[in-house]
Point group: C2
């Protein structure tokens, strides 16, 4: 455990130019010298442990955060005290974009597992963006991508059956893992059934039942957090059938 942490700590301090995520992350498309200028404002703190907060709803906004390793959920709290999951964030994905607007975080963020984060002071990022047009462009694209993905999610929640939602969710994870160099068909869920259900607008029991059904139908093999996709085409068929045709895959990754 302590050994593992030491290793992680070493890996975290990798500069943007040497980071394996650079093709997914903000530096994407920047010239090497601009990547270094970006790198100069990035802060890399010690990793979060499962359950640690990255920020809380209502806190004032100072930084954007990029997941380097691990996974983070964002969520809001309703008055019953239980939480509504707004999103899951994998390596290379940016958090805090909704807070630029009024300088306050609208949701909380919490690590689902041991997680390394790159921290970008937003005022410095803005300064840099005025000086590096391609960085400004990249920022616009990043924000726009988030808007497009959320619109897809709205369509999913507004129209789809439980089956389609769960299928979309699994395909989204699959795509995102794949782009990050992991297996597209064999991965571990870092979130609970409860959290998946909250995100998809379903009861946790419904999520569980669908996992079971997909397994019975030889589409998946599920054992607690461990998921193997056996027949990805049938998963894809589920969402192309009843749902929007615009989006070829569920949430095309980030």
């Amino acid at each position: 455990m302590t050994d593992k942490n030491v290793i992680s700590l070493d890996k975290i301090k990798v500069a943007c130019r040497d980071c394996s995520l650079s093709t997914l992350c903000l530096p994407m498309g920047l010239r090497p010298e601009d990547v270094d200028r970006l790198d100069a404002i990035v802060k890399r703190n010690r990793p979060l442990q499962r359950g640690d907060h990255l920020f809380r709803a209502g806190e004032s906004f100072r930084n954007l955060y990029v997941v380097k390793t691990g996974a983070v959920k964002t969520f809001t709290q309703n008055n019953d005290g239980d939480e509504q999951v707004v999103g899951f964030h994998l390596p290379g994905e940016v958090l805090g974009l909704d807070a630029i607007q009024d300088g306050h975080h609208g949701c909380s963020a919490r690590a689902l597992e041991t997680t390394a984060i790159c921290e970008l002071p937003f005022d410095r990022l803005e300064d840099l963006s005025t000086n590096i047009p391609s960085l400004q462009h990249q920022m616009f694209r990043l924000l726009s991508k988030e808007i497009g993905q959320e619109a897809e999610m709205m369509a999913l929640l507004g129209r789809s059956t439980a089956e389609e939602r769960v299928a979309s969710f699994l395909l989204s994870l699959s795509e995102r893992f794949k782009r990050r160099g992991f297996s597209a068909t064999d991965f571990f869920l870092s979130m609970s059934r409860q959290e998946i259900g909250s995100y998809l607008g379903l009861a946790l029991e419904t999520v569980s039942r669908l996992f079971t059904r997909f397994q019975d139908e030889q589409i998946l093999k599920v054992e607690r957090k461990h998921v193997q996709i056996l027949d990805i085409d049938r998963l894809r068929a589920m969402i192309n059938h009843n749902s929007n045709c615009e989006q070829h895959q569920a949430r095309p990754s980030s």
Copy 2:
């Protein structure tokens, strides 16, 4: 009818500095000289008639569009051929933000009534943003606001009852009309029950039934497209009761 058009055409050509929307729109917070530089890239074409397309899904992205008067819906098409409404856009609200990402519109936009539009060539807007830091900041805020609003909508669709959805929708319109100087309690819906239902993830009959019920309960007076809110506090109570407490009102306007 022709008379009306002539009058509209005059009003449309108003420059940003003289536009009543300038406090809601992109120029918000810019210095007067910068507003003029922004104004210089704005194109103002003849108004759209009800049913006209502003852009279609798949078209390549050239411009952002701001609604000046009227109303626009954005929507995607599913393979059954029927449409999923993604959003309704009132004066001062910007369309096309999701297309920055990959240079193609992900949804179509169509006028719900006679509508005047300001057109902003995005490449020129980007250039201007690098030269006017406050414009860049304004752009970031705009994109971020859209992200926050969509997240709220996701929460609404993921968790709420039909009652809450319709209440939220009405409160959202109310707030947005109010900020634009119109009555917050007496307005006309430019969209059909079908379109409202599609947007809220409900059947049109459910929307109709809830309008009727709210009217029976003395919360609304509805006569076809004409809505009067009689008891806005009870509408608010509906969404504070079962739904998220984070958001004070449904979709705080744009």
